[in-house]
C-alpha cells in the first residue's frame, strides 16, 4: 500500500504530463500483481469498492479522540479523509504490526467483508496502515480520489511499460477487468497479448494531421474529399452481437450518458462520427453549439428532462465494421457508400451523414473554410479517396484545416507561477473582459492561458505582474486592472464553453495569448457581449454562475 500511496501523493503534485507518465510506468514496473492492477483501476476510475459514509468515519475517530481536538484539526486541514488520516493513532499494543499491508489485501478484505463488519474492518485497517497509506485508503473508500490523471495518461504509462503503441491498450481496455493480470503479464513480456471474447470492443480511431504551410501545394484536389469538421466530440458507436457501446475517441466508455443514442442504434456494426446536440439534417433542425453538448457530457446517468432538452445525435463520418465485416481495409469511397446506406435506414432523429463539401481548387476550399455556413463548424476535413481506415495519426491520408481562431482583447486579472522550467515566472494568466454588473462596468474572467507568447514576451509579462501585484493568494497574484491602468493582451481562442467556475458564465476553449497590446488601455478591451455575439451564442443560453453543469 505504501508504494501506491506514495504514487498518488506524487501524481497529485506533479504538473508535467511526462513526469506523471514516468511515475506511473515506474510504479507499474516495480509493483507486484494484483496490487498494480488495483492501482490501475483506482487511477483509471474503474475500481468499485463499498463506500463508507463520512459519518461512520467521524464516529470511528471520535471513539479515540476528544471532539474539540478533532474539530480544531478538521478546521485546520479542511478535508475529512485527510484529517482522519493525519490524527489517527493506532493503540499502543498494535504498533508492532506486520509491516506494509498490500493494496491487494486491503481490496480483498473490503470485498469479502459483510455489510455489518465494515465498521470494524475500517478501524482495523486504519490501525494497520500508516500515514500516506491511511490517506489513500480513506480516499478509496469514500470515493473521493482525485488525482488529476486522465484515462489516456494511464494508458500511455501502460504503453511505455510494455513498449507498445497506445492504440493497442485502447483496443484492449474495455475487454479487460480489474486486476488486469493478463494485461500486465503481456506488457512484462511474460505472456501473449490477451485475446478478447467481448464483442463491440473499441477500435483505435483514425486521426488527421493539421494542414501545414506548404502541404497542399503538392497535392491534387481531385484525390481528396472534403467534409466539414463539426464542433462536437468524436465518438465510436459499436453494436455487435447484442452489445452496444459508445466510446470517446480515446476509448472511454461514455454509454451511460447517452442512452438515447444506444437505444436508437438498430444497425449492426461500428461507426465513427461526431456526437452533437440538436436536430439532424434529416429532420431539418439546427445543430446546436458545443456548450449545449457540454450539458450532456461527463455524466454517469441522465434525466428524462435532459434527454428532451438536449437531444443527442451522431453525424456519421466513417464505417469500421458493417455487421461483422471489417471495412477498414476498403477505401474511403467504398466505406462511405456503405455508411450512407446504413444511415439511410437508421433513425432520422439520431443519425445523419456528414455531407461532403464540393470544391475544385484549394483556393475555393480556403474561402469556404474561412466562412463556413454553420456556426457549429470548426473547419474542414480532407480525406484521401483511396485511403483505408488506419488507426492513429499518420500524415497524408487525412488532414484537418481549422477555421481561423476568434480574437478578442482582454485584460490580465490574475497570474500564477508556472511549473518546471517556468517555476520562477508568472506564466499562467487569467484574463477578463468587461460587462455590466449593477450598472457598473466590471471585468469578469473568461479564460486562462499559459502559452502563445514568446520567451521575451514572458519576461515582459512577468515583470509587469511583479510590479503591479494587488494581492497574493498562495502562488496566485491578482494584478492591477482598472479602466486606465492594466495590461491588455490579444487572446486567440476556438470557441467557448459554459462554465460555472467563471463569474462570466463562460470559458474560452483553447485560448492562447497571441499578442501583447501594450498600445492599449484596459478601457479599450472587449466586452462580454461582443465575445458572445462572435460565436453566435445568445446570452440567455448560458448557465447562471454557480449553477451546476
Amino acid at each position: 500500500m505504501r508504494a501506491f500511496a506514495e504514487l498518488l501523493d506524487r501524481l497529485v503534485l506533479t504538473p508535467q504530463r511526462n513526469a506523471k507518465i514516468k511515475l506511473m510506468t515506474d510504479y507499474f514496473r516495480a509493483a507486484p500483481d494484483p496490487d498494480r492492477g488495483y492501482a490501475l483501476a483506482a487511477i483509471a476510475g474503474t475500481l468499485t469498492l463499498k463506500t463508507v459514509k463520512p459519518n461512520v468515519l467521524r464516529q470511528l475517530v471520535l471513539e479515540r479522540m476528544d471532539e474539540v481536538l478533532f474539530r480544531y484539526s478538521y478546521d485546520y486541514v479542511g478535508d475529512l479523509a485527510e484529517t482522519i488520516s493525519l490524527v489517527w493513532e493506532p493503540p499502543a499494543e498494535s504498533k508492532t504490526t506486520t509491516g506494509d499491508l498490500s493494496l491487494g489485501t486491503v481490496v480483498h478484505q473490503l470485498e469479502t467483508a459483510g455489510r455489518t463488519n465494515v465498521h470494524g474492518l475500517v478501524r482495523d485497517l486504519l490501525d494497520q496502515l500508516e500515514g500516506s497509506s491511511r490517506f489513500a485508503f480513506l480516499k478509496l473508500i469514500t470515493g473521493g480520489l482525485r488525482i488529476g490523471v486522465s484515462a489516456r495518461l494511464v494508458k500511455q504509462a501502460l504503453a511505455n511499460l510494455g513498449n507498445v503503441d497506445i492504440t493497442e491498450i485502447e483496443t484492449l481496455w474495455h475487454g479487460l477487468s480489474m486486476p488486469y493480470v493478463p494485461l500486465f503479464q503481456w506488457l512484462d513480456g511474460k505472456a501473449d497479448k490477451p485475446e478478447l471474447d467481448m464483442p463491440a470492443i473499441f477500435h483505435a480511431v483514425m486521426l488527421a494531421t493539421p494542414v501545414g504551410d506548404n502541404d497542399l501545394a503538392s497535392l491534387d484536389p481531385k484525390d481528396f474529399a472534403a467534409e466539414w469538421k463539426w464542433d462536437g466530440i468524436r465518438v465510436q458507436l459499436a453494436n455487435l452481437a447484442g452489445t452496444r457501446r459508445l466510446y470517446s475517441r480515446s476509448g472511454d466508455d461514455i454509454s451511460g450518458a447517452f442512452p438515447d443514442i444506444l437505444e436508437a442504434a438498430d444497425f449492426e456494426g461500428i461507426i465513427d462520427g461526431e456526437l452533437l446536440v440538436g436536430g439532424t439534417m434529416r429532420t431539418n433542425r439546427a445543430t446546436r453549439a458545443f456548450s449545449d453538448l457540454q450539458q450532456r457530457l461527463n455524466r454517469k446517468t441522465v434525466t428524462r428532462k435532459m434527454l428532451e432538452e438536449y437531444p443527442a445525435f451522431i453525424r456519421g463520418y466513417d464505417l469500421l465494421f458493417s455487421g461483422g465485416r471489417d471495412m477498414r481495409p476498403e477505401n474511403f469511397l467504398t466505406r462511405r457508400a456503405a455508411l450512407s446506406a446504413l444511415i439511410e435506414k437508421a433513425a432520422p432523429s439520431h443519425f445523419d451523414l456528414s455531407p461532403l463539401v464540393p470544391f475544385s481548387s484549394w483556393e475555393e476550399l480556403d474561402r469556404l473554410r474561412k466562412d463556413p455556413p454553420d456556426p457549429v463548424i470548426e473547419g474542414i476535413m480532407l480525406k484521401r479517396l483511396d485511403s483505408p481506415y488506419t488507426s492513429g495519426r499518420s500524415k497524408g491520408p487525412w488532414f484537418k484545416w481549422k477555421r481561423e481562431p476568434y480574437n478578442v482583447d482582454a485584460v490580465l486579472m490574475y497570474a500564477q507561477r508556472g511549473h518546471g522550467k517556468r517555476s520562477s515566472y508568472y506564466s499562467d494568466f487569467t484574463f477578463g473582459v468587461w460587462t455590466k454588473d449593477d450598472g457598473k462596468d466590471v471585468l469578469v474572467p473568461v479564460g486562462k492561458a499559459y502559452f502563445g507568447f514568446t520567451d521575451a514576451e514572458l519576461e515582459v509579462l512577468d515583470r509587469y505582474v511583479r510590479n503591479n501585484t494587488v494581492e497574493r493568494f498562495g502562488p496566485v497574484r491578482s494584478i492591477r486592472a482598472e479602466a486606465g491602468h492594466g495590461f491588455v493582451v490579444e487572446v486567440a481562442f476556438e470557441g467557448i464553453n459554459v462554465s460555472s467556475r467563471h463569474k462570466s458564465g463562460v470559458a474560452m476553449r483553447f485560448p492562447r495569448i497571441s499578442r501583447l497590446r501594450t498600445d492599449k488601455l484596459p478601457q479599450d478591451a472587449d466586452r462580454l457581449e461582443t465575445l458572445l455575439a462572435m460565436i453566435g451564442q445568445p446570452e440567455t443560453n448560458l448557465a447562471q454562475p454557480g449553477e451546476p453543469i
Binding site: 503534485l13 479522540m65 481536538l69 480544531y72 485546520y76 486541514v77 479542511g78 493513532e89 522550467k421 520562477s424
Partner: protein, 336 residues
C-alpha cells in the same frame, strides 16, 4: 514565589523583573537571554546578550560583530546568578546551539523551551528534560494532525526522485540555519556522496557547521553561468525557500521544486506553494513529541506560546494539567 511574577509576557517579549532581562525579545532591550539563532528569536540591537557560544557565533555571522554591545557565554548546565535569580541553559535539540532557559528564584523554576524537538538530529545536541514548576512550551505544530514521519523515509523520497528524474535539478528549499545543514547531513548519512550545491545565503552557516565538526561533505556554490545550465541536471541544490520563486532559480534545468518543512504534511499547503516533492522534516516537535514531553517533565503548570496554542491547552486540561496560552507576538511559524 508565584511563577506569574517571576516571568511574564510584555510587548517586548517574556520579561523577568527580578533578573532585569527578557528572553528572546522581539524589540531591542538592555539585557537579553537568547534561546537560539533563528531570526525571530535572536534579533540584533540589544545591549547585553547571553546565549550559548554557538548561538552567539551564529548571531555574529548573521548580523556582524556589532550585533550587541557585550556578550556573555552560557555554558550548558551551569547555573548563573543574574540579579535575584539563577539562570541555566539546557540543550533543546532544535538547531546547533539551541537551548532551553531555566529561570529559578525562591524555589520556583520555570523552563522556557524556546523551539525544540525530540528526535535525533546529527547537527545538534539532543533535548534534555528539566524538571520544573512551569514549562513554557512552543506549539508551532500543536495540533493532533501533526505526526511527522521518520526523516530517513523523507530523504529516501528525494534519493528515489534523483534516480527517476536524472535530467532535472532537484531544488530543496530549506531554512538556512539548521534545516539546510540537517538535510545535507541526513543525505550524507544515507550514502549520498555527490557534490551538493548551495545558495549563497547558506555558505557562511554551512562553513560554521563544518568548523564545529559537523561534516557536510562536498558543498559547492550554485553559481554557474547560464551556458553551463546542464551541469545541474540530476544535482541537488539547497537554498532558502524564498529563492525558488526568484529569478535565481532560472538557472536550473527543469527543476523539481522541493520543500523540507513540517508543514508539508498537509497536502494543500504543498499544492499551494507549487511544491512537487514535499519532504516532511521539521525542527519543531510534532504533536506526539509535545505531549510526550509534557508527560515526561510533569510540570505543575504549562504555558503555551507561539503556534496553535488552543489545542495543546485543551489537551492539558483533559489530562488535568493546569495550562494557559501566553499570547506572545512576533514569532513566526516556520516557513510562513
Amino acid at each position: 514565589m508565584k511563577p506569574e511574577t517571576l516571568l511574564y509576557p510584555t510587548p517586548k517579549g517574556l520579561y523577568c523583573e527580578k533578573g532585569g532581562f527578557y528572553i528572546d525579545p522581539v524589540q531591542p532591550v538592555e539585557r537579553a537571554l537568547i534561546t537560539h539563532g533563528h531570526a525571530d528569536h535572536a534579533r540584533a540591537g540589544h545591549s547585553h546578550v547571553m546565549a550559548t557560544r554557538e548561538t552567539l557565533d551564529i548571531m555574529r555571522i548573521r548580523y556582524g560583530d556589532a550585533f550587541c554591545t557585550s556578550t556573555q557565554e552560557a555554558i550548558l548546565g551551569a547555573r548563573t546568578p543574574i540579579g535575584d535569580i539563577t539562570a541555566s541553559f539546557h540543550p533543546a535539540g532544535h538547531v546547533l546551539g539551541s537551548a532551553q532557559i531555566a529561570v529559578e528564584a525562591n524555589g520556583t523554576r520555570i523552563v522556557v523551551s524556546g523551539d525544540y524537538k525530540r528526535r535525533r538530529d546529527p547537527t545538534c545536541l539532543a533535548f534534555e528534560p528539566v524538571p520544573c514548576d512551569v514549562f513554557i512550551t512552543e506549539a508551532t505544530f500543536g495540533l493532533p494532525v501533526f505526526h511527522h514521519p521518520d526523516d530517513r523515509g523523507e530523504i529516501a523520497k528525494l534519493l528515489t526522485s534523483l534516480k527517476q528524474f536524472p535530467e532535472r535539478a532537484h531544488l530543496v528549499g530549506a531554512y538556512s540555519l539548521g534545516k539546510a545543514q540537517r538535510i545535507i547531513a541526513l543525505m550524507r548519512e544515507a550514502g549520498y556522496d555527490a557534490p551538493i550545491f548551495i545558495h549563497g545565503a547558506l555558505a557562511r552557516l554551512c562553513d560554521y557547521y563544518e568548523s564545529e565538526g559537523i561534516g557536510l561533505g562536498d558543498l559547492r556554490p550554485a553559481t554557474i553561468d547560464a551556458s553551463d545550465k546542464q551541469s545541474f541536471a540530476g544535482a541537488v541544490v539547497v537554498g532558502p525557500p524564498s529563492a525558488f520563486a526568484d529569478k535565481w532559480a532560472r538557472r536550473f534545468p527543469d527543476p523539481v521544486p522541493i520543500f523540507a518543512s513540517g508543514w508539508m504534511l498537509v497536502r494543500q499547503r504543498a499544492k499551494q506553494r507549487g511544491v512537487e516533492l514535499p519532504m516532511i522534516i521539521s525542527d519543531h516537535s510534532d504533536w506526539p513529541e509535545l505531549i510526550a514531553t509534557i508527560g515526561e517533565i510533569k510540570p505543575g503548570e504549562v504555558w503555551v506560546t507561539h503556534g496553535r496554542e488552543e489545542a495543546l491547552v485543551r489537551w492539558c486540561q483533559l489530562q488535568g494539567i493546569a495550562a494557559r496560552p501566553l499570547h506572545l507576538v512576533g514569532y513566526d511559524d516556520e516557513g510562513e
